[in-house]
């Protein structure tokens, strides 16, 4: 079979057994791979209403059809599960080289169920799966240590997916790491893996991925890279990377600052692209990607060299501006600490910013205030070990706010802390956060591209934003429907693919040319399937912290001062969103919509 391997590896941690099942090709035809195929497998294999912490709640690793080929940016892996943090679906994407190695080992997907009696490492060499005790050696290791240990002990060429100590203590925003700096960050998959007593999966594959006519495919890829990938539209990611966003987003008053109390950070110039270029030492790439966006930076922190890839914009925003930190050395150290302990930087920055805010406001003294770099870099370790103030901070933003009676400070959606764009400076992000299938996330529809980066549409209006969030109108707007097909691919955002390019790539899989409408329809099918899953499992109302839309809480200073969506407009926007989606007033997709899209599952009666 071309592109797909046709195999799903099912690992049961409870019984220490591994079995191989054929990939469901009917689902692959409907949902392509990546996000779509993940959702279909989740629908089938997640027991309805399962307690996310229960051993029966599976962790899914899904590849895209192009993983293991030389199609740029498509080496990404999607880690999926019913998240123990949010209680709804969470699809978290990560680059690096794990997904291609899965394909070379013979698998399109890996499903992990059960819970091992003792901490365990799973090693996979092609069709040989072994369960290795993680104690005493591996349990407790930081992420770079576990990776190196498994390269030394198992296979020098092994690719690993592991948790740091934060995953072992079941931190609700513990992430999965691969190739050290690459994280499936959001939604607490690290905690889910930790709850299964699974420290790491190490995989080595020596097989192949076929693509039909090899020479013809190779020749087409040369053209596609030249015409579509290595263009000015994408090479900014190589030359500057996401720190380029700092000045732009801050300049629009949309950079979350001091726990979302402001939208403009006066210290941002110390954390902008120019500042990072001064400490840049080299470029790295994900597997099979010609763009090579990974910037390696180096600084000194108390006499010790801190070297690593990143930080990316979101880390700069949440770990920098949102904590009032303008010291690039401290930010680099924070990034390294989060990487090593295995914490998502967005949620970590959000919770530290909150603790600083509560301390400043006198709500509770966490011993750390805005801008205190020395104390702040200690927090990821304290949080991961649940030590000192870290024990409380590891509750996460929502539960911490509930505990101290300050719900108005809780900057999250569906218990996922929001990333680095304040909707008061980019109105479209309001609908993006509120209706995202995994909670407070910027990756499903990204209005910032048009509102701030290109400036193609005005930022301080809701006009056209709901339409844009759903489908590609205006055409450059990254919409939910389009990101859904894109994450089936799994294309990275740094190849700014459009429906036409997606169609040209899918031609190789389907053997026929899909119209742009058909491409978008697959995306909409995937989005609706995700909605059904969330409804089945019980999802909170689609909403946003009031601060971000109400007239009463507009910023009083900075470039976005005085801008507010307004309560009436916000309510109307949500209504319009459901209407345009073909969903009823409660956000349930109608039968007509599901039939039109060819979604092959239905909600059970009564859900």
């Amino acid at each position: 079979m071309d592109f797909y391997k046709g195999n799903v590896l099912r690992i049961d941690m409870s019984t220490k057994t591994a079995t191989v099942e054929p990939l469901n090709m009917e689902w692959a035809a409907l949902y392509v791979g990546g996000k779509g195929l993940l959702f279909r497998y989740m629908w089938e294999y997640v027991p309805p209403m399962v307690d996310p912490w229960a051993p029966e709640n599976p962790l899914f690793l899904m590849t895209g059809p192009f993983a293991g080929t030389n199609v740029s940016t498509t080496s990404r892996l999607v880690v999926g599960a019913k998240s123990p943090t949010t209680g709804i679906l969470n699809d978290s994407y990560v680059g690096g080289s794990f997904a291609p190695e899965m394909k070379f080992a013979g698998y399109d997907a890996i499903i992990v169920v059960g819970k091992a009696v003792e901490p365990t490492v799973v090693t996979i060499r092609n069709d040989v799966v072994e369960f290795v005790p993680a104690k005493p050696k591996y349990w407790g290791m930081k992420t770079s240590e576990i990776e190196q240990a498994l390269r030394d002990d198992f296979d020098a060429g092994a690719k690993t997916l592991s948790i740091g100590p934060a995953g072992e203590t079941l931190n609700p925003w513990a992430c999965l790491s691969t190739d050290q700096y690459h994280k499936a960050g959001r939604g607490g998959h690290g905690a889910l893996m930790g709850s299964k007593n699974l420290k790491a999966i190490a995989i080595r594959g020596t097989g192949s991925v076929t693509v039909g006519d090899a020479r013809a495919f190779l020749s087409d890829m040369e053209r596609i890279h030249r015409e579509f990938v290595l263009t000015d539209d994408n090479l900014w990611a190589h030359e500057e990377g996401t720190p380029i966003l700092v000045d732009l987003v801050n300049g629009a008053g949309a950079m979350p600052t001091r726990n979302w109390s402001e939208g403009y950070f006066e210290g941002a110039k110390n954390l902008n692209s120019e500042s990072f270029q001064k400490i840049r030492v080299k470029k790295r790439a994900c597997y099979q990607c010609a763009i090579a966006c990974r910037n390696v930076h180096a600084v000194n922190w108390h006499g010790a060299r801190v070297v690593g890839e990143g930080p990316e914009y979101e880390t700069i925003a949440l770990g920098g501006a949102n904590c009032g930190i303008d010291d690039i050395d401290a930010l680099m150290k924070f990034n390294e600490e989060c990487d090593q302990w295995g914490l998502d930087t967005i949620s970590t920055g959000a919770v530290i910013g909150l603790a600083m805010d509560m301390t400043e406001k006198g709500i509770h003294d966490f011993g750390v205030r805005f801008g205190e770099g020395e104390k702040y870099v200690e927090m990821p370790g304290l949080i991961s070990r649940k030590e000192g103030v870290g024990a409380e901070l590891s509750l996460g933003v929502r539960r911490l706010c509930a505990k101290y009676g300050a719900p108005e400070l809780s900057m999250e959606v569906k218990n996922l802390e929001m990333p680095g764009y304040d909707p008061r400076g980019a109105f479209g992000m309001s609908i993006s956060y509120a209706t995202s299938d995994r909670g407070g996330c910027h990756m499903r529809t990204y209005s910032v591209g048009d509102e701030i980066l290109s400036g193609a549409v005005p930022a301080a209006t809701m006009e056209g934003k709901v339409e844009g969030a759903i489908s590609n109108r205006p055409p450059d707007f990254i919409s939910q429907n389009f990101s859904s097909i894109k994450f089936c691919g799994i294309w990275c955002d740094f190849w700014a693919v459009n429906p036409l390019q997606v169609s040209q790539m899918l031609l190789h899989i389907y053997g026929r040319e899909l119209s742009e409408d058909e491409v978008m329809l697959i995306g909409e099918r995937v989005w609706n399937l995700g909605r059904l899953f969330n409804l089945r499992e019980g999802v909170e109302a689609d909403t946003l912290p009031k601060k971000l839309y109400s007239e009463k809480f507009a910023h009083t200073s900075g470039p976005s001062a005085g801008q507010a969506i307004g309560e009436a407009t916000w309510a109307d926007s949500l209504r319009r969103y459901y209407e345009l989606r073909g969903w009823d007033a409660k956000g349930v997709p109608t039968e007509a919509k599901l039939s039109e899209l060819g979604v092959d599952v239905r909600l059970p009666a009564g859900r």
């Binding site: 690096g96 192949s208 991925v209 040369e222 890279h225 190589h238 790295r284």
Partner: protein
Amino acid sequence: MPHVMISRKKCTACHMCELACSLYHEGAYRPSVARLRSECNPTTTEIKGFTCLQTACAKCQEACPEGAIETRVVTLEPEGAFDSAAKFEGVSAGHVLVVDENKCSNCGDCYDACPYGVIHEHPERKVAYKCDLCDGTPQCIVFCQNPHVLAIDLKIDKADREPVTRA
């Protein structure tokens, strides 16, 4: 004679070269049998490239008891951008070392002799396989495509511009 080299300073370890190499030679993406290698420690981000230097090294040829590694003329038609492109003006052919699979007994002497670890036993065919510059159009160079990277170069030694036949 002509051979490819990976610059460890420029290489980003995207492995596009290995992927293209394997697809060209094996008809499938299979980097574990690529004819060249880029190794990266993901934590330190240190990168090392391993490529065959062809007749400029020829340790495999010297070690082979069967005379199975032949010096062959290859017509050079490099495509894509690479640093030394200008040096190939007017150079139409060069020599590469090629395994004659009929003669190879898979004794392994060349595997031990190769200083760069770029000649191996093929997992199915059970004979040695190595870089042959893709019949004159090295695919690793074609796919080291990012204009800001161009980590793979096609090299040619001055002394080797005239065809040389080693014993």
